[in-house]
């Protein structure tokens, strides 16, 4: 599209834009209201009711009246142009930006009220872009803009701006704003403007229709008990896009059966079951339903109140029957039971058979009941109650997805901001929803995102800030999950770059393993690894005692900061048929499952699976899934996310082959495939399981020089322990050699070293301490005599 064509398509708005530049809408409204009051006063004074009429007051009245009429006419012009239906929304706001005065369109955008609003919503604060404007070198002209052929005019304009002004584009990118984000935020800002304007138009058909009319109730009966224990469904009239349009239509159809339709709405928590009912109420209010529903009112039962005020069987039954009878008698009520399973359970607790209570009414055809239930509760409580279910039509509300939830928040943002007293930037909103989906798997998306927003708002309030930014959300997520989010800070950066050397402080040799682990961590933190898998998954193969477990622990300590973040499972304990249920939970719901609880409580850390080959085959299959998708479902079907976990499985399989290769001087790296083939042939692991690991790492046996290093490390640990007692242990080469000779057997790796230290060194030390030869402040150097004992 050319520039002429583009501007031509906004021609309709030129007049209104011109008006706005002369007298903006806000000012017109203010004038309108002030002058109207003055006109009234002049009328009262001039008409002679209170004081005798005077010519000047009458004159004033007429003049004011004419001014008022002119302003009203101007506003009518404005509203008419603004609200005329077009192919694309918000063209007027776009026109305000496009036709803003000034040669440099970027500058006029940034300084315009719309532009300021949009940039604020993007999380860019005023000072930042004031600085930008003052330092701006490049200046483009409107004539230079080149328009493309994007779908919407708004997209065309902003893309043209960003194409034309590289500096501006980079300025935005530095603040993590791309074109898509810019357009979405613009859409949100325009939407909010529009809602405000709609609120002013009391003469619109929608608004008028929602005013309560006289006389509708007069041929419906009183419902006293019902009035006490229920409340009308709360809903807002201005939903532009119905989120659950299909479900609402379906609800309407199901309920409109002439012989009393009853509907059971089932869906995940937060999926919007009540929203669907609210949508139906909106339809009824607007008069867009079948005649059967036109005068119906929707009331929701206060089930909690009922249960608390009717503490025994008799009261409960009496109250409940009275409520239903009232519903029948009044004839125009659709009754909503917000949580049917809970009501059934409450009744059961009082030894009441709920079915016997409700079925007579349901089958009479004289009631309309909408019952709501979570999916879980439905399965647990209602599925077996077929006598109730036959009278209900089931309506399933699909689970939430991020787009839907985001749209809900965009709609509610006004209320939210008024309640919390803050303003949310659009990136903050996005991060709340995306963060909830990514880091809080298995929780209802809407309520989790909501909690995140409210939490960030409270933090911002405490810090005296009005704007909640994306950083606030990330900080909150980090606090709640322990997963580091956001930009990499300097200390973390140092750790990431020097992972290998840090780990080598604890591990001797095993360069390949350390390198593989470090690479995986760096990829994850840089944000380029696959977010739908664990951070990394590794299979460590090798002889016992060479550092497989130690490496995983070192990783946890170096990177995750505390040794405690190693979630260790000894898989040899899980080789019985009930292993799987011990891990993911038993069906009776009492045991939540070791693995599920572990990961839920520590979503960020190292999962160490020792002796992996020893576990039951079904458990191996479970891990197949976890490694592949980063998620699994526990016994209740709730999802557990392992996407912020590093999985390290260790196994002694293939140790003999490894020994042989090393004994013949071969390279483990080159022979890796050979080793793996042999393991698969032996049936230790299935090939598809091995394939799923990010890396299979072979651990080499420890030879003398390694053993010496390990010995030295362990001696230094001993020395450190002794230092706490005030004893200074000298670690000499002789001591190291002694230890290596005493405590090494390649077959057992470095483990014998521990025993050697215990049996020889620690024994000698203990004897000496007890005998009084060693006390705080003394120095200990082992002599040959000490060691020959």
């Amino acid at each position: 599209m050319t520039r002429e064509e583009f501007e031509k398509s906004l021609n309709d708005f030129r007049g209104a834009v011109l008006l706005e530049s002369i007298v903006p809408h806000r000012l017109r409204r203010l004038l309108k209201n002030i002058i109207f009051v003055l006109v009234l006063i002049a009328f009262v004074l001039g008409s002679g009711i209170i004081v005798p009429p005077s010519a000047s007051v009458t004159g004033l009245f007429f003049l004011l009246l004419s001014v008022w009429l002119i302003v009203v006419a101007l506003d009518a012009f404005f509203y008419s142009i603004y609200f005329k239906a077009r192919d694309e929304d918000h063209l007027f706001e776009l026109a305000l930006i496009v036709f803003a005065p000034g040669e440099d369109p970027v500058k006029s955008f940034i300084t315009s009220p719309q532009g300021k609003n949009i940039l604020m919503r993007l999380g860019v604060d005023d000072n930042t872009f004031q600085d930008y404007i003052s330092q701006k070198k490049l200046s483009i002209s409107k004539k230079d803009l080149v328009y493309g052929n994007e779908e919407t005019l708004a997209a065309q304009y902003f893309n043209a701006l960003l194409r034309g002004d590289e500096e501006f584009k980079n300025f935005l990118l530095i603040h993590n704003i791309n074109t898509d984000l810019l357009l979405r935020t613009t859409e949100l800002v325009f939407d909010l403007e529009r809602k405000k304007l709609e609120g002013e138009c009391w003469w619109n058909e929608d608004r008028l229709v929602s005013i309560k009319k006289i006389g509708r109730d007069w041929d419906y009966g009183e419902a006293n008990t019902l009035a006490r224990w229920s409340y009308p469904i709360r809903y807002s009239m201005d939903r532009k896009k119905e989120l659950h349009a299909e479900e609402i239509k379906e609800l309407e159809t199901l309920i409109s059966k002439s012989s009393g339709g009853n509907v059971l709405i089932v869906g995940e928590e937060g999926s919007g079951k009540l929203e669907v009912v609210e949508g139906l109420q909106r339809l009824i209010k607007k008069g867009e339903t079948s005649p059967l529903l036109l005068d119906k009112k929707i009331y929701a039962l206060d089930t909690v109140g009922i249960s608390t005020s009717a503490p025994n069987k008799f009261e409960f039954e009496k109250l409940f029957i009275q409520l239903l009878t009232d519903t029948v008698v009044s004839g125009n009520i659709i009754l909503v039971i917000p949580n049917l399973p809970a009501l059934v359970m409450d009744a059961r607790a009082l030894s009441i058979d709920f079915s016997a209570l409700i079925v007579p009414f349901l089958s009479s055809g004289n009631v309309n009941i909408i019952a709501l239930s979570d999916q879980d509760e439905f399965n647990k409580v209602l599925e077996s109650k077929t006598e109730i279910l036959t009278h209900f039509e089931k309506l399933v509300v699909k689970g939430e997805d991020t787009n839907r939830v985001l749209t809900i928040f965009e709609d509610e943002i006004n209320e939210l901001e008024t309640r919390e007293g803050v303003i949310f930037s659009y990136p903050a909103l996005l991060e709340a929803v995306q963060g909830a989906e990514r880091y809080f798997v298995g929780t209802p998306l809407y309520s989790t995102a909501s909690d995140l927003l409210l939490g960030s708002a409270s933090v911002a309030r405490q810090e005296g800030r009005k704007l909640v930014t994306k950083e606030d959300l990330l900080a909150l997520i980090k606090t709640k999950t322990g997963v580091p989010t956001g930009d990499i800070r300097s200390e973390e950066k140092e750790k990431l770059i020097n992972l290998e050397s840090h780990m080598h402080e604890r591990i001797v040799g095993q360069d390949e393993a350390i390198s593989a682990l470090s690479g995986s961590l760096r990829r994850s933190r840089a944000g380029i690894s696959n977010p739908k898998r664990p951070i990394g998954s590794f299979l460590f193969l090798g002889p016992t005692g060479v550092g497989k477990t130690e490496t995983a622990k070192a990783l946890a300590e170096v990177f995750f900061g505390q040794d405690g973040k190693v979630l260790r499972l000894d898989m040899s304990e899980y080789n019985s048929p009930d292993a799987l249920s011990r891990l993911i939970g038993a069906f009776d719901g009492e045991n939540p499952g070791v693995l599920s609880s572990m990961i839920r409580e520590n979503p960020y850390g190292v999962l160490l699976l020792d002796e992996f080959e020893k576990t039951d085959s079904r458990v191996l299959d479970l891990f197949l899934q976890i490694i592949d998708e980063g998620m699994f479902s526990d016994v209740l079907g709730r999802k557990v996310s392992a996407r912020n976990i590093i999985i390290v499985a260790t196994s002694n399989a293939g140790s003999q082959i490894i020994f042989d290769i090393v004994a013949h001087g071969g390279s483990l790296l080159n022979e890796k495939d050979h080793v793996i083939d042999l393991i698969v042939k032996d049936g230790v692991f299935k090939p598809e399981l091995i394939n799923r690991f990010d890396a299979v790492v072979l651990f080499h046996p420890l030879v003398d020089e390694h053993l010496k290093k390990v010995a030295r490390l362990k001696l230094e640990e001993l020395a450190w322990r002794l230092k706490e007692k005030g004893i200074n242990l000298l670690v000499t080469d002789m001591l190291v050699d002694f230890l290596v000779s005493k405590g090494s057997d390649p077959k057992f790796g470095a483990r014998p070293l521990n025993r050697a230290i215990q049996d020889t060194l620690e024994k000698v030390i203990a004897d000496k301490i007890i005998a009084g030869d060693l006390h705080p402040g003394s120095e200990l150097e082992f002599t040959k005599e000490d060691l020959s004992i």
Partner: protein, 128 residues
């Protein structure tokens, strides 16, 4: 002045879309007034018992019971009739008034410049 530039846009609107919009809005308001009093519904249900406060006839035939119920029901219907009729009358009057006012506004819109001029002249002549 910008205002002079603006005027042509306005005048064009005033006598095209302006009239259309006004017609729609005014008729909405009149319809609203009519519907507010639920006149058609009230006429349909004019003899219904008030708020369904009626008794049902018991089984069998007991003269005193029967006549007692008959009297109560009749009274409820009379009550309903009276209240509804009053409201119907008020509603009809309100509707006619609002229709009249709407017509005045509509005419006023068409002769808007003259109306304004008239008011200004009146105002100035009274002040001086």
């Amino acid at each position: 002045m910008k205002f002079l530039l603006f005027l042509p846009y306005y005048v064009q609107w005033h006598y095209t879309r302006g009239i259309q919009d006004l017609r729609i809005n005014l008729s909405n308001i009149v319809k609203f007034v009519f519907n507010y009093f639920s006149i058609s519904v009230l006429i349909h249900t004019i003899f219904y018992p008030w708020r369904r406060l009626a008794e049902s006839y018991s089984k069998g035939f007991d003269p005193s019971d029967f006549f007692a119920t008959l009297i109560v029901n009749t009274l409820m219907r009379v009550l309903g009739f009276v209240i509804r009729s009053v409201v119907i009358v008020i509603g009809l009057v309100a509707t006619i008034l609002s229709a009249a006012l709407a017509t005045v506004f509509f005419v006023g819109w068409i002769f808007f410049p003259l109306v304004i001029a008239f008011f200004i002249v009146q105002g100035l002549s009274n002040l001086i």
